[in-house]
């Protein structure tokens, strides 16, 4: 795993990138909530939502291809849900009973639209901000402290594990001419366990190394967050537009 894989486009520069992470977190979360709480079977308003999100994408200069790839990740579960709805769904939970014919089709469509809109919003959030600044923003927004520290560790340890995976597979490949004999599949188990144990050990030594460099439980940040009027303006106007669409349409 490349480190750039996680926040690959966070080093681009755009008005969105320059916003304070707190402004982005709150406004994107609000938009997410508004979109997801759209009644089932409602599809017209999504035209507007997608236009709004599209504008954001355009301003942020995040490549569309990249966003589409991210949508592919959730595609299986979304398609499964949409498919289930089409085949065996019953609109018991909410409205949409007034679509007797297109009912189920509209229901599936609205589920897919919601899910993909949510994915694009979240991807935008994470690819327009460096990950540790995002965490800092969440902490400033009173996210439980444990969550912040855990995330920071997790982020680092994830590299350690994937590093270990890359190395052991190189080693296995180098000494495996041809395909691994099926009767020796336990090798995979041992390899997995080795990766686990070794990255466990490495995570412990890394933690020790951190302690020996004065770590006390809080990750230091080099540049402090700075909430400007522009951020407030973005937060308010962005949220209002979404609320307006939700109410009016």
């Amino acid at each position: 795993m490349k480190h750039s894989f996680l926040d690959r486009y966070s080093s681009l520069d755009s008005p969105i990138h320059r916003l304070d992470p707190r402004a982005k977190i709150v406004s994107f979360l609000a938009a997410l909530l508004i979109i997801v709480s759209e009644p089932r079977g409602e599809v017209q308003s999504f035209l507007f939502y997608y236009v709004l999100i599209g504008a954001l994408v355009w301003i942020s200069r995040i490549p569309v291809r990249f966003l589409l790839k991210r949508c592919l990740i959730v595609a299986p579960i979304v398609l499964m849900a949409a498919g289930l709805m089409l085949v065996s769904g019953s609109p018991i939970a909410e409205g949409a009973i007034d679509h007797p014919h297109g009912g189920r089709a509209l229901l599936s469509l609205s589920i897919a639209l919601k899910a993909f809109a949510a994915v694009i919003l979240l991807t935008l959030l994470t690819s327009t901000e460096r990950f540790h600044r995002l965490l800092e923003g969440m902490r400033a927004l009173k996210m439980p402290a444990l969550l912040g520290v855990l995330s920071a560790f997790m982020y680092r340890y994830a590299f350690i594990i994937s590093d270990e995976m890359l190395r052991t597979s190189r080693a296995r490949l180098s000494r495996t001419p041809g395909r691994l004999n099926i009767s020796r599949f336990t090798v995979y188990g041992h390899q997995a366990a080795t990766i686990f144990v070794r990255s466990w050990e490495r995570s412990q030594t890394v933690y020790n190394a951190m302690c020996s460099r004065g770590f006390t439980g809080r990750f230091p940040l080099r540049t402090a967050l700075h909430f400007r009027p522009v951020d407030a303006l973005f937060l308010i106007s962005f949220t209002l537009v979404f609320v307006a669409v939700r109410i009016v349409i």
Partner: protein, 268 residues
């Protein structure tokens, strides 16, 4: 450590040559890590590649058994080009000892790890045991069979890593920094082993003295380019070249001289 008659050493020499032509590679788009490396290593030769840290030495080695794919250029082992089709045969021919032993060990015990390669070669179980025991003995590791590599010191793991590759009896053995983290006695022993392997040996290292002691020819890699190739004598005495590449080792000699004086100039 001395073992007089040794089957690996008495094998007929099965060594393959290595030809690298115009090899170019970059991990990321901007930075070329290897630029147009062309090199010919004869069968049975002991060939050293020296270069400063970050020169691209490890990257070059990873091309020898197709773990990395060249951006441009080709690598041939014994006339066989390294590519998708030939990969199985290539990996049988080429044994790679990684720079970091932890990259190499992934089985439960030392014995499993050493046996992993030979088992993949579909040898009979006696042959496998023989290979394993021989490799362990070579590396002075008898008695470690049942230990887990997680419980060994770094230098011990390094020796296990060497054993895992020797046990496969490859035609080309490529060592990445074999001498680091070993004690002097082990370094000397390893130089002996390298001298007697019935294979082509490629050594990549920054520990210049042991490389000089073990190689017939040297190449100097600097920032991804081959800046010189020649006999060990030629390269080792070209002090200007070495200094230019940050490889000037004369300072080690100074330390030795000083000590020899201390001892009243003992015989050399």
């Amino acid at each position: 450590m001395e073992r007089a008659e040794n089957s690996m050493r008495n094998d007929p020499v099965r060594a393959a040559g290595v030809t690298i032509t115009d090899l170019t590679f970059s991990y990321e788009e901007e930075r070329e890590v290897l630029c147009g490396v062309t090199l010919r290593i004869e069968p049975g030769e002991r060939f050293g590649i020296i270069g400063p840290s970050g020169a691209g030495k490890s990257t070059l080695l990873l091309h020898l058994n197709g773990i990395l794919t060249p951006g441009r250029g080709t690598v041939e082992i014994g006339g066989l080009p390294v590519d998708r089709e030939s990969i199985a045969e290539i990996r049988q021919k080429v044994g790679l000892v990684f720079q970091n032993p932890d990259d190499q060990l992934f089985n439960l015990t030392v014995e499993d790890d050493v046996a992993f390669g030979p088992l993949n070669l579909e040898l009979s179980s006696e042959e496998v045991s023989a290979c394993v025991e021989e490799a362990l003995a070579e590396m002075n590791l008898l008695g470690f069979e049942e230990l887990s590599s997680h419980h060994l010191s770094y230098g011990e793991r390094k020796r296990v890593a060497l054993a895992t590759v020797l046990a496969m009896r490859p035609e080309v053995v490529a060592f990445d920094e074999p001498f680091s983290n070993l004690d002097p006695a082990m370094v000397e022993h390893l130089i002996d082993i390298i001298g007697s392997l019935p294979a082509t040996v490629i050594i990549v290292s920054q520990s210049i003295l042991p490389v000089i002691a073990s190689c017939d020819r040297l190449a100097v890699l600097n920032r991804g380019r081959l800046v010189a190739t020649g006999s060990t004598r030629e390269i080792a005495s070209d002090r200007a070249l070495l200094r230019h590449c940050g490889l000037d080792f004369h300072f080690y000699c100074d330390v030795c001289h000083e000590l020899n004086l201390l001892q009243g100039g003992t015989d050399v």
